[in-house]
Amino acid sequence: MFDSTTGCVRFQSSNEILALAKSNATPNLFVIGGPKSLQLARISESDITLEYDLVMQTGHGRNTKFGLISDLKFGHQTYGRNIAASTLSGSIHLYNLDRGNRVRATLSDHQRAVNSIDFCTVAPYRLVSGSQDGKMKIWDLRMRNTRAATTINGNADAVRCVQFNPRLENVLCSIFDAGVIQKWDLRKPNMVERRLNAHSGPGLALDWHPELDYIVTGGRDKQLQVWNMGSDVEYSREPDHVIYTSAPIFKVCWCRGRGNGSVMNTDIAACFLNDDPCVQIWNLNRRHIPEHIIECHSNQVTGLVWKTPRHLVSCSKDKMLVQNDVLREPRMIDNMPSRAMTWDPKGKLGVLFIKQAKDDYDLHNEPVKVSSLFNSTSNSAAGSINGVITSAVGPVATGAVTSPPNDTLPQSMQSAVSLASYLNSSSEKKIGRNPLSSRTKSGAVSRAKRLIMPKTSPFAVPVDIPLLANEREVFEFLSSSYLIEVSDGLDITQVCEYNATLAASAGKFRDCQTWKTIRFGIMWQYDQNAGLPQDFVHNESHKDTDNHSVTTRSQSDKYGTSLGSFTEESVSSTKELSASPKRMGILSQKIHAEKQEPADEQRDSDAARKEDGQVAVSLPISDRNEVAIADDEEDAVVAFDGEGQAKPMEIRRPSRTLSQLSRNRYSFTGVSVDLDNERSLSAGSSISLSGSPGLSRMFKLSAIKADDVGDGLKKRMISRRESSAALQRESSLSARSQLTAILKDPQHPDEGHPNFLGARILISENGESSLKVPWNPTDLIKRASLYSAKQGDLVLCATFALLFRNLYPESMTSTQAQEWIFNYHEVLLRRCLFGSAAAVLRRASESYDVFKTIGQTRTSVRLFCNNCHNLILNEDSKNKVRDEDPRTDFGFWYCDRCGKRQGKCAYCEEPLKGICVALLECGHKGHFGCFKSWFLEEKQSDCPACGTPAVRQ
C-alpha cells in the first residue's frame, strides 16, 4: 500500500514482526523475523514485496527448533549476504543468502536468550552477541566451530543491546538491565574500558552514531541519553545530552546519512515499550518537542531502521512493515500554538499573552560546556563571531577527531542560523567567546550548568486595554457605593438620584444620565398613579411595585413632596456637576429661592441638610480649585485614589439615613468637579446640556400633574402624548442620543424590544388601560440594562436587576436578572470585594432561590474540635434538641464527642457569644469584662491562657 500524499508505504505480513534488519550490500533488501518466520523483503520507494521465505516453508524440519527471533543483522562487506538471527532460545542462526534457506550454522553457546547481535563493520567476520545470561560472546565466522572466540563477562545483568563501533574493529558498547553502559576493547576482554551508570532503570537500547564517537541509549526510565564514547575525551559521569521522552524506550536509532557531521543535527528515531505504538524522531536541538511523531502502527513497534536519510522503516507486532518518508511527515511543532493568551479574571479589561517564537529554540540548548579541544582550536578564532560558532559546535569538534572533514560542513550550515540567534543574546555570546570563562566551566561539567537559559525565554506580557470602564477604582467605588436595595426612609427615586450622583462622581456621566432618566420615568409613573382614581392606583401600583412599601403609603402628598425635593436636588446636583465653584454661591441662593413653596417637615429637614452640605462642600471645592490650578492632574488622581481605597469594603446598611447619604454625596461631588476639570470637556458639557432639558421636563411634568388632578383621563392622555413627542425630541438631542441611535437602527439585535411606537401598540393590545409612553420606567430600565449588559458593565446591569426587577418585572426576564447578578457576584468575589459580594448575595437571595442556595452552601464553615480535632457534628444533641423543640437554633459551641466546650473565654472558660475581644498575638479570645479585669484591674500583661505577652509597653 502506497500513500502518495505522505510517502508512506505499508505492507501487511502474515505474522507478527519482531525484528528487522537492512542489508548492507544490497539496497532495499530487508529481512524481517517473526515468531516462526524469517523473510526477505524488498522495500522500494513506493512498494514493499516479499522476496523469499527463509524459514516458513512447509515441511521444514527445523521449524520446531526455531525459537522466537529477538534480533536480526546483515553482515558487512564480504559477509554482506550473510544474515544472523538470534533467538530467545539462546541460539544464533546464520544464513547465507547465496545458499538458499539452509541454515549455515547455529551458534548455541549462550545459556539463555540472546537479546542482541551485531556484525563488525571493519572486521566483517566478527559477530557479537549479548545474552540474558550476562555474557557477550564474540564469534569469528571464519572459524568452522561453533564455540565463541571470546567471551566477555559483563556482570550478572542481562545484556540488552550490544553494538560494535562502526569504525573500529575492537570497540563495542553494551547496555545492561541495570542501566549500565559498558565499553569494551576486545583486546582486553577481561577489563571493562569504561563503565557508566547511565539509566536509572533497565537500559534497553543503544546505537552508535554512524560517524562520530557518540552513542545514544534509551531505557525504561524514559530517557534518551547521548554519551561521548571517544577514547580521548575526559570521562564524564553525566551524559552529554538527555532527552526526556514520555515512555520507556525500546529501540533507538541515529539517522544515517543526514546531518551526521554533528550530533546536534542528527535525528534520533525512537520507539517505545508501552502501548503507544508510535515512532518519535528527536533532534538534540530541541529536546522537549520531538520533531515528528509517526503513528503508523497499532501495536508495539519492534524494529527501526533508517533505509535512507529520509526513509524510516519500522516493523511492529501488528504485522505491519511500514516505510515513512520522514521529510514529508508533519512537524510536531506545527501543531503547537505559537501564542498563549488569557484574560484577566477580575473582569478588568486586560489580557496576558506569551511572547515567544516557535523556532527560536532550535539552538538554545547548545551546551556551554567547552571541551579541551575547543580551547585549543578556538583560541585563534576567539574574539570574532567565528569563535561563537565554534563554541556552538564545540562538542562536535571533540567528537570529530576521527573525521575532521565532516565537521566543516555543518559549521557553515549552522552559521547562518546560529549567527542570528547568537547575536541576539549578547550575554551568552560573551560566555561562548571568552575562553577563560569557558575553561573554568569545562573543569566541572555538571548538567545543571550546561542547561543555559533559552535565548528568548517565553515572555509573559500583560496588557491593559485602556478603556474608561477599565479602571479598578471606579469599579470598586461603584460596586461598594451603589445602593442595591430600597432601604427604609428612602424610595426608589431617591435611590436612583443617589446612584446617579455616584455615577457622576466616578466619572461615569452616561450612567448618571441613565439613572436620572429612569428616575424621571419612575416619577412620572407615580405621578400618573397619583392622579388616577384610588382603586386604579392600587391595582396599578400592586402590579408594578410588588413590595414597594413606600409607594403605597400616603401616595398623593408623598409624591408632591418627593417631587419637589427632587427637583431641587436634581438642580443642585446637575448644577454642581457643571458649574464652577464660583457659581456655587449663586446656586445655593437659587436653591433657597426655589424653596419658597410650602414645605412639610421632610422638606425642611432636607433643605437644612442640604445647606449643611453646601457649606461643607463649598470650601473644599474652592480650596481644591486653587490646588487644581497648580497641579490639576495629580490632585485629581490622589483625591480619587483616596476615595477608591476608603470605600471598597464599606457595606451600605439598609438603616442608613438620608442625611448620611447626602453627606456622602457631597464628598463625591467634590471629586466629580475635579474629574471634570481634569477630564473630557465633552462629558461635562453633555451634563450641562442635558441638565436643562431635564429641568424643563421636570417642570413640565409637575405642571401636567397640577392640571391632571382635577381633569379627566382623556384630556390628560392627549396632553401626555403631546408632551411625549416633545420629550422624545428632547431626549434624542441630549444624553440619550446614543441609545436612540441604537433604537433607530433597524438591525438592532434586541429583537424582543420593539421601538417606541411598537411598544405603545403592543401594550395597548395587551389590554392595559393606558397607552405606553417612551419614558415609562419599564421600557427605560429594559433598554438601559440591556445596553449596559452589552457594554459589559456588570455593575450597572446587576444593580438595575437588583433594584428594579421586583418593581418592574416586565423590564427584564428573571433569567437575565439572575445571570447579571450571578456574574456580578462572581466578579466581586474575583476582585476580593467580599463585603459587596455578600450584600449582593443577601439582596438577591430575597428574590431568587439560586442565590439563597449559594449563600447557604458556599459560606458554610466547618468547625473542628480544638480538643479532639474531629469535625464537630453534634448530631446526637441536635436530634435531641430538635425533638423537643424543632425551632431551636442549634449551636456548635461544644463537641459531642469529647464533651469539651469550644471557643471558651481565655479567662473564665465560659463560652463566648457575640462580640468578644481577641488577642492579636496568640489569638485567644475572651469576654470584654474578663479581659478588662485581667488586664486593667489585675494589671497583667500576658495572655491568661498561654502567657504570650499581649500588652506592649
Binding site: 500554538p337 479598578r472 438591525q747 439572575q818
Partner: protein
C-alpha cells in the same frame, strides 16, 4: 495604568502552550513543552510576578493548565500529551521554589492518546473536569467527595469522533463549557475540523448531540463560549487553521424539558491574522473577543452598535 505590570520572562525552556490566571488573578500558571508547570504569584507591593514554583509535572508536552474555583480548594489541573490528567494542590508548608510546593492529588490516565484539552467545568456544576484527547473521546470526571479530592469518578465518556483519527493527521481537539448558570448544561467540543454542541438532556441526564458548527475548513484550534450576559442567544468563537476567527450565533429553542434544538449561524469571520489562528477567548463579560495567531499579534474584537463584530485593536509584542 499605574498598576500595569512589565513583561517578565517565564524561563521556560521551550514554548509555552497555555497560561492561566487563578480565580482572583493573584496567581498565574504557565505550562510548556518542556514538561514543566510554573506558577507565579503576584506581589502586590511591587506589582510584579514572582515565581512560586516550577516543577516537572508530566512526561511530555503539557497542553493545558487551569485553576479550579476556590470554593473547591486551591487546585490546578494539567493535561498533557503523555495522556494523563493531573490535579495538583498547593501545599503551603513547602517552601516557595522548592519544586514540591504543589503536590499531586491524582493522576487520571484513561485516554488512549495524547490529551489535547482539559478544563474545570464551570463551578456551579460541581467539581468536574472535562478532557478530550486524540482518541476522540470526551471524558468528564467528578470528585464526589469534597473531603477526598483524590477520588475522581468517570461520569461520562462521549465518542465525539466516530472513527479514530487517521494516523498522520495533525490533530486538535478542544472543549469548552457554556458558562451560563441559568440554562441547561451545554458544551462545545471540537474534534479536528468539526465542532459540535452537546447539551444535557434533563430527562435522561445524558448528553445529546445538539448541533454542528458549520463552515470550518481546517483544524479547529480553539473554541470559546461567551458568557451569556442576559442575551437571548449564545456566541461561540472558534479559531481555525484556515486562518479564520469565526463567531457563531447559537439560538437555543427549548421545546420542552430535555427537548432543545439549536440554530447556528455565522455572524462574523475574520482572517486578519496572517496564517493560522491559535487561540480565541472571551473576556469575563463576553464583550470582547481576543485571538492570537501565527503573526504574533493579539487582536481584539468588539461588537459595535449594530451588533457586528469589528477588530478593535491589535496588540503587538514587538518594541522594547
Amino acid at each position: 495604568m499605574k498598576d500595569s505590570i512589565k513583561p517578565f520572562p517565564t524561563h521556560h525552556e521551550d514554548i509555552v502552550l497555555d497560561v492561566e490566571y487563578d480565580f482572583y488573578g493573584r496567581q498565574l500558571a504557565t505550562c510548556s513543552a518542556d514538561k514543566h508547570i510554573k506558577v507565579f504569584d503576584l506581589d502586590p507591593a511591587t506589582s510584579s510576578w514572582v515565581l512560586n514554583d516550577s516543577w516537572k509535572a508530566h512526561d511530555s508536552t503539557i497542553v493545558k493548565v487551569g485553576f479550579a474555583n476556590p470554593e473547591f480548594g486551591h487546585l490546578l489541573l494539567s493535561g498533557s500529551y503523555d495522556r494523563t490528567l493531573k490535579i495538583w494542590e498547593e501545599n503551603f508548608d513547602e517552601p516557595l521554589g522548592s519544586g514540591r510546593r504543589w503536590s499531586r492529588l491524582v493522576t487520571i490516565a484513561d485516554s488512549h492518546g495524547p490529551l489535547y484539552d482539559c478544563c474545570f467545568v464551570p463551578s456551579f456544576l460541581g467539581l468536574k473536569v472535562g478532557s478530550i484527547g486524540s482518541d476522540g473521546k470526551l471524558r468528564i470526571y467528578e470528585s464526589m467527595d469534597p473531603a477526598d479530592l483524590r477520588d475522581w469518578t468517570l461520569l461520562e465518556e462521549i465518542d465525539v469522533l466516530k472513527a479514530p483519527v487517521a494516523a498522520h493527521l495533525q490533530s486538535d481537539f478542544n472543549v469548552c463549557w457554556c458558562p451560563s448558570r441559568f440554562s441547561c448544561e451545554k458544551f462545545c467540543v471540537s474534534a479536528l475540523d468539526q465542532a459540535y454542541i452537546y447539551y444535557k438532556n434533563e430527562n435522561t441526564n445524558k448528553f445529546k448531540l445538539g448541533e454542528l458548527l458549520p463552515e470550518h475548513n481546517g483544524l479547529i484550534r480553539s473554541v470559546a463560549w461567551a458568557p451569556l450576559m442576559g442575551k437571548s442567544y449564545h456566541l461561540i468563537a472558534t479559531a481555525c487553521k484556515d486562518g479564520y476567527v469565526r463567531i457563531m450565533k447559537v439560538v437555543e429553542h427549548v421545546h420542552g424539558p430535555g427537548d432543545i434544538s439549536f440554530t447556528v449561524s455565522l455572524i462574523s469571520s475574520f482572517n486578519e491574522h496572517v496564517g493560522e489562528v491559535w487561540r480565541v477567548s472571551w473576556n469575563m463579560t463576553g464583550t470582547i473577543l481576543s485571538s492570537c495567531g501565527d503573526d504574533g499579534l493579539v487582536r481584539l474584537y468588539k461588537s459595535n452598535y449594530a451588533n457586528n463584530f469589528q477588530c478593535m485593536s491589535v496588540i503587538s509584542a514587538e518594541g522594547k
